[in-house]
Symmetry: D2
Subunit: 326 residues, 4 copies
């Protein structure tokens, strides 16, 4: 039987829509099962700074629809040092905290795995990042909302594209992973998608655009993931313009607006399920696991396994579609 009396929850790394739904679920589930709950502000930094607050049912009222995270996040270099970790641990003890729910990406998981190993404190991780690049879950928290945000932006650009016969380059997030670029590109009917996983030469891009022009497309939209090897939308636009003079080219950099916004239903439900499952896992004695959604069910994966270098693959049929349907 579990002897956990007080669980702390925190968010770390880049924030993602749905984190608040997850925080709320952790708090209310833990309270329901008789535990106390603390919220740690600004991730590992708050652990070190003792920036820790009690959480009640009421403290998470009316937050599910908000973007960002009410607990804030911060990058924290100190937590990588033994002194930082010790301070963090001392503060957890000071606050009577027995167990952790960590919401974030692989940096967050790495910290949690090491910390839990050294201090023997149970921890369950929740994959919260808009990039959808973690092993062990079909979807990460925030990815669905971010993709919706991107397609709404592209739909608006398409309106004006349809009026003007222009070529648009739209830079989306994804330093290492093209998930957002690929899905948003297909879902918005983009003429070409440039991703870190796929080395698209400018010359091939131009060929695609010329074929589109030959089919009398009145406009073309090119999605460029920020991690594309050609160096971002401005650079791609510049290179295309050098040899493909016909078009008037325009660039949009969506930037951090992709991280914000009220979470979609999918991300709210995912946040609720993951937070709910994380607490239940802690209470039945699990530790150093991450929760994930697989086949529409919540499953646990060892953090060690999740953090091993997996070859990350984009869905085959999506890659095939990206050219056939465009």
């Amino acid at each position: 039987m579990s002897k956990i009396k007080k669980i702390a929850v925190f968010t770390s790394g880049g924030d993602a829509p749905g984190m608040n739904a997850c925080i709320r679920a952790v708090v209310r589930t833990a309270l329901h099962f008789g535990c106390e709950v603390a919220g740690i502000k600004q991730g590992y930094q708050g652990m070190i700074d003792n920036n820790i607050t009690e959480m009640s049912r009421h403290s998470v009222s009316n937050i599910m629809q908000l973007g960002g995270t009410i607990l804030k996040t911060a990058r924290c270099l100190d937590f990588r040092t033994p002194e930082g970790m010790q301070k963090a641990y001392d503060n957890l003890k000071l606050n009577g905290i027995d167990a952790l729910v960590a919401i974030g990406g692989d940096g967050t998981f790495t910290g949690a795995e090491r910390f839990s190993g050294i201090y023997n404190i149970p921890v369950i991780c929740v994959p919260g990042t808009i990039d959808n690049d973690l092993y062990g879950s079909d979807f990460t928290l925030g990815f669905d909302t971010a993709t919706n945000t991107v397609i709404e932006a592209i739909d608006k650009i398409r309106d004006t594209a349809e009026s003007h016969d222009r070529l648009f380059f739209i830079e989306v997030m994804g330093r290492d992973a093209g998930c957002i670029a690929l899905r948003a590109g297909i879902a918005s009917g983009a003429e070409a998608i440039m991703m870190p996983e796929k080395d698209t030469a400018i010359i091939d891009l131009i060929k695609t655009l010329e074929e589109g022009a030959a089919q009398k497309k009145s406009s073309s939209i090119v999605i460029v993931a920020e991690g594309d090897k050609n160096g971002g939308a401005f650079n791609v636009a510049k290179k295309v313009k050098e040899t493909f003079d016909f078009y008037d080219t325009k660039v949009t950099i969506l930037g951090h607006l992709q991280r914000g916004g009220s979470p979609s239903s999918f991300d709210r439900i995912l946040g609720c399920r993951m937070g709910f499952a994380a607490v239940k896992a802690l209470l039945r004695g699990e530790t150093r696991k991450m929760v994930g959604l697989r086949s529409n069910e919540i499953k646990l994966t060892d953090l060690k396994e999740a953090l091993t270098d997996h070859e990350f693959k984009l869905e085959e049929d999506l890659l095939e579609m990206a050219t056939i349907l465009a």
Copy 2:
């Protein structure tokens, strides 16, 4: 090897966001693999009336972001008669159509299964309905968008609820299935959810609301699926008011706005994947199957099996959460 030369696509039953993405995928995939494509307007009725048109790449340009279906839908009683079916078949032959992609719900599937059996014409079905109540797919086309639409509406009502100390009843779609009610209820933090699957007595609802009042909730939102046994939001509100006088009660009937709206990224991708897979299935000789999304992959299910009476179950953890997190 397939000898299919011309595929027809149609939408039938209630329309759902994402149908246009699916139509577009069917058309472009079929053309890509060397088939011609026809579009049948208004479902089975258009088959009988020979309301059939050729589809080109261009005819499906710039439709993915539109709600509804460019091919329209209609209910069709004539198709249930042998004469109607014969007429439909004659028109297909007249137009040189070898195979069908049918997008719709179980009524559509039943018609397709019978017709295909009698006339030996290959057919693949796509589950397009906002109700998410079909066997063989974790999600149906349109469900994600509809749930987003509902939570956006509830978020707005919550704004005013937070200002006013009121009790709101919101009626959502779902004659037989509480999928929308359950997900939207959790995702919007509703205080209570009334569904066809769960026989909630008014007295129990009142108890829940009284507990909320005791917790000093400043407002309460009750989701009522149209198929709830108490007879819709107006009736529930009336019955509650008879015994629970404290609150000012307000009713919203969302109605058909739940069917519309620009499809979410999830539904556009789902529509693309299903349309793409449906054509590929036809071309490799499959028939009388439905495509579905399971574990984030497209899988085929026999129509016969899909149409057998399965006990439809809502996700266990969601049902548990609905009361714990509220």
Copy 3:
């Protein structure tokens, strides 16, 4: 020169999007000019209950984008009694409050005008109501957002209408005024608009619908203001159905979702301008006035004049357009 040292702000009556922008402007403008500011919760009720709190720059951070009002509203019968007013006044004195900014509709204004007359406390009113039915301002706070909310809902219904050949009845707010119905009806291309100001007989509505059917319109949308003399959308639908059997009719009751939502740019700017002007007016010695937007400039009107019974008129060209463009 003004001797005002502390201004209190409150919201009263039905809440409206943009109220938070106005509260924020009142607080920050007053602080900028060296006054203290208090916030009264739940309108006149909070004045009587001494539910009053100090406001700082920070207390209104990040609220402009929120629907509803952070100060909440409530109906208050006690304020109509001499005892209630006296209690309210005593509490204002207790808190050192010299002047008031009241945000609300004509009920709010009436209370403010009487109270200010009896106790000689300066007050400036801000027209905050989604109904746009106040004299002295081209637009009231919240009307623009509410109209946007309604047309977004109708656009979604139109999607499905275009797919189905149906007749939709949509009930919108407006017990005495058809402003929302008229503008939203025109802006969504509704086939007919039923308003309190215009006595539309069911027989005339049916004629309009028949003419539309003759023009082969594939769908028809009828907007019904809740104050229409035929008794709301359900009743209109029922009466039409009795004699006009052709169509499948569907009803949506938008209800309180029209009050919520993040305020539009127009309402945020209007809230800022009105709050800013209200404080400046108080500081230069004005009282018992309302601020209003006329010709894109802020103008003051005597409360007495604003509350006199003016014949309220809908814009002539809009009324003419409503039938010509439909």
Copy 4:
């Protein structure tokens, strides 16, 4: 009495949301009053190329909610030559066109004014541009929607700003006019607004940001109009970063997504009113005028006067508010 038998409508210059509402109003109003209507595709270019099509009531069905313009726009150098103008005129005669409604910005107006003077063909202009920089109308068609689009983007960035303690630079449209920057900046609570009309030195911007930091603001958002003298958001960010090291800075370039999107209620109504008034003006013999909204009423202004160099002024109270409320 007017002898106009056929009116042509076209859109020219940058497209703007609401143009479709205006086209629809022109078509349906003209038909209502017994005129025929033609639509010229791609503005003056289509006039020269005889890209002209008959318009019916049905041809403008269901377009009001669409962004962009169904008639498309194009820049046209040929129209500045006598030969181009002559060709355009010949094509108008060929199509029996007696009068024009031109929707666009000052380039469009200049062409219309000259052409109408030379060939004595009646023309009424409609101010359609998101920049709101035309004389004779409080608001231009598309400005309201564009401002809403910008604040929705900034609201999303604010979500993540609130989580991260960062400094964001957001570039918005406005080469010569800061209308969008000013309104969107106030409506989103931006900490600083850089506009063409106001020469903000980087050193002053940094001072503002330092004051914000001193007030413990957790994040700061700077709006940069593309026409700001410091050379766009990337340059401003770079210059700030050189001397103000504390912050992590992020840049978003909204670009053409500001031109698209479904028009707001305000812009749809404005489009309807302006199109309606333009046709009525032609029919009562007016020419070489523009329609405008002043004091919530449609007024006419001589094109000559509208095109004279007016000093364009931003609203005084908005400029004052921009610093006081931030």
